[in-house]
Amino acid sequence: MTDSVAVSGSLRNRLMLTLIGGAAILALLVFFAVRNYAVQLAQEGQDNILAASATSMLDAATFRDGVVELDLPYSAFSMLSTAADDQVFYAIRQDGAFLSGYADLPFSESQMFQTDQVRGSDVRKISVSRTLIGANSRTEIQVVLAQTQDALSETLDRISRNAALLGIGFFALAAALSFWATAATIGQLGNLTTSVTRRGPQDLSPFAKPVPREMAPLVTSLNSLMGRLDQSLSQSEDFIAEAAHRVRTPLATVRSYAEATLQRVDKEENREAMRSMVKAIDESSRAAGQLLDHAMITFRADHLELEDIDFVDLVHDLVQRMTPIAEMKDLTLTLKGDARAPFSGDPVLVQNAVRNLIDNAMKYGPRESSIEIEVTAKDRPQVTVSDQGPGFPTDEIEILTARFQRGANATDTIGSGLGLTIARDVAAAHGGEVVLKNQTGGGACVTLSL
């Protein structure tokens, strides 16, 4: 589970890069679009003024008695004044013959507006003409008007600067927006991650919290994965139960037969064989039971079902249930200690743990002896089970303790070891511990605290 995930790039970086890259491209587009549009507008502006000026010049032309007069209006040039003091050139021709102005300014038949060069300066040029009709003749007046583009280029520089500012502003805004949008989008993933992390390993219920539509497929597959996981877990539980059933039922039959056979067999070697068989069956079923219990406890320990219960009541019930077995062996179970020991824990687990401790005590306690079970609630609820058996061999206490510290795998231990392991695991799940020791007067003493 803790294996590191293979990471390929960052969604955030990719998103940011895409958005900011897009913003940059858009900003450039905005810049060029605004600039081109402005250039076009400015050019149109100049063209319009040139056209107005040239038209006013043409309008001033009169044709009388075969003579062309052109009373150039003052406003024709006046309107061409610019902040940049652009130069103005013009030429007036009659039927192609130069009349006045700049003789080196050619008339263009094809293009009304032209960008051209006059005397080393770039100019915008307009060529217009008008046909004048006299009494019995007609003549064509041509006007060519040119103006340098200093003011225009100044205007364009200014517009370019503004367009650049606009582009940069747009970019900055878009970058800020994409940062925000990325954070918000990734935030949704973060929220999902948080709720996955927070819910704990046993919570396999589907996510009900609403998520953005784009994340729905992810959450859907997550939910379906959880569903399958949940199903396979409960299938495992069922499988464990079923396996137990399948193994134990025939064992029970075999054991019954063995026992019945034993009743009828008198030959000592045959009896011994039958006894060994029954013992082997008992041992294997006990080990299987404990292994399955351990598996179940490990499963439950991750997800304690805490209840407020009285430890004394719990142990009392347990002792009552175990009394028939104890009586059968002429063992006495003595329960003493405090009247009440309330605590919050998983009763099924705790009962199982204490039962294992009493089981052990009954197994090792000598015939017709007494087993003392003391429940106290001083600092924390704890139960001490003492028997009058041989006690733990000194070296075994250390081995068992060491095994606890190691958290050894359950398969390493069989019999009492596994019972103690179960008790230890349950105690640990409740934040407690199991302490083993030998009593001074003889006998083992196991304390489980929660």
Binding site: E69, D71, L72, Y74, D85, Q87, F89, Y102, S121
Partner: protein, 335 residues
């Protein structure tokens, strides 16, 4: 008419003989290595103090100062653009057209108001209104006219006094005269009525302000129309005799302009001179100007000078000029 012909001949002679100058003077620099040739329509006397100050501050530069008419400046310049380093003229239209036609060198960052320069090439450095200058003797006992309209009335009231005794520019020869006339004509129809009245009174036509003021001072003429007031004021001896009237109906104010020839062989020195010229005119070193400053025209918008703009070229158009001169002649020369 005889005067007229004589004057025409006189002016023609000046035009034909290229080396003939109204005046010509050398202002040697103390350790001159370069020499600036300035062609100007401004009388040497008016310009001398300014040039002398410049030369004393820039001893490496000598200045040759040539004086001729405004039209002549235009003609000479177009013929040989590299003959002169700087052109100074009172004919704004001709100067502007020279600049427009690419004869002027653009100077960067000359500290000068926008309205007083064009293309950073042509720099105005004076503002001088056209004035009606009157010989007080002719108006003894009668009120001195303060506007064109009053002048018309005064002339009509006493035609016997003014016949042959009115002077104005011959606009066909004087560039400045033509500028004044066209601007007047543009401003008001009064101009044409005045011209007709003057024509009816056999007005004398002059090529230059100087001559007109001379005759006025001598009493040969009683009224001079569209004379530069600055010239009249500059004549110390005429102070008592002459009355300078700035027409109250509308002013026509000319700005003297200067530019560096694009073909100049001494562009650095020429630029230095232009910078000096505009700064001197706005803030003279000795506190006394021999020429009117540019700022005077700034004071009242009413006195706004003729704008430096391409429109000045309108009346230089051949067709337009022919038409205008025809009308002018029709009005003024009545045989």
């Amino acid at each position: 008419m005889r005067y007229l012909i004589a004057l025409i001949l006189c002016c023609l002679a000046q035009g034909v003989w290229a080396q003939d100058w109204e005046d010509q003077r050398l202002f040697p620099g103390a350790s001159a290595t370069t020499s600036l040739r300035i062609i100007s329509s401004t009388d040497t006397d008016l310009f001398a103090p300014l040039i002398e100050t410049f030369v004393s501050g820039n001893p490496d530069v000598s200045i040759e100062y040539f004086v001729t008419g405004t039209a002549d400046i235009d003609r000479r310049f177009r013929e040989i653009p590299d003959a002169f380093d700087i052109a100074i003229s009172s004919a704004m239209d001709l100067q502007l057209k020279l600049t427009n036609d690419g004869y002027a060198l653009a100077l960067d960052n000359v500290p000068h108001p926008d309205w007083a320069e064009w293309r950073q090439s042509l720099f105005a450095f004076t503002a001088e209104p056209a004035a009606i200058v009157i010989n007080r003797a002719a108006f003894a006992g009668v009120p001195i006219p303060q506007s064109r309209q009053e002048l018309i009335e005064a002339l009509r009231a006493r035609p016997e006094v003014f016949r042959g005794r009115i002077g104005t520019y011959d606009v066909r020869r004087s560039g400045l005269g033509y500028l004044f006339a066209t601007q007047d004509a543009r401003a008001s129809e009064t101009f044409w009525r005045l011209m007709e009245v003057m024509g009816g009174l056999d007005a004398r036509l002059y090529c230059c302000s100087g001559d007109m003021i001379d005759d006025l001072t001598l009493g040969k003429i009683a009224v001079a129309y569209n004379v530069l007031g600055s010239y009249a004021e500059a004549r110390a001896e005429s102070q008592n005799v002459l009355e300078i009237v700035l027409p109250s109906d509308f002013p026509t104010t000319m700005m003297r302009t200067a530019f560096v020839s694009k073909a100049s062989r001494q562009p650095a020195a020429a630029e230095r001179f232009i910078r000096y010229l505009v700064s001197y005119q706005s803030n003279p070193a000795d506190g006394v100007r021999s020429l009117p400053s540019l700022q005077e025209s700034e004071a009242g918008s009413k006195r706004a000078a003729i704008a430096l703009e391409p429109a000045l070229m309108t009346f230089l158009d051949t067709l337009k000029r022919n038409k205008f001169l025809t009308e002018w002649e029709d009005a003024l020369i009545q045989d």
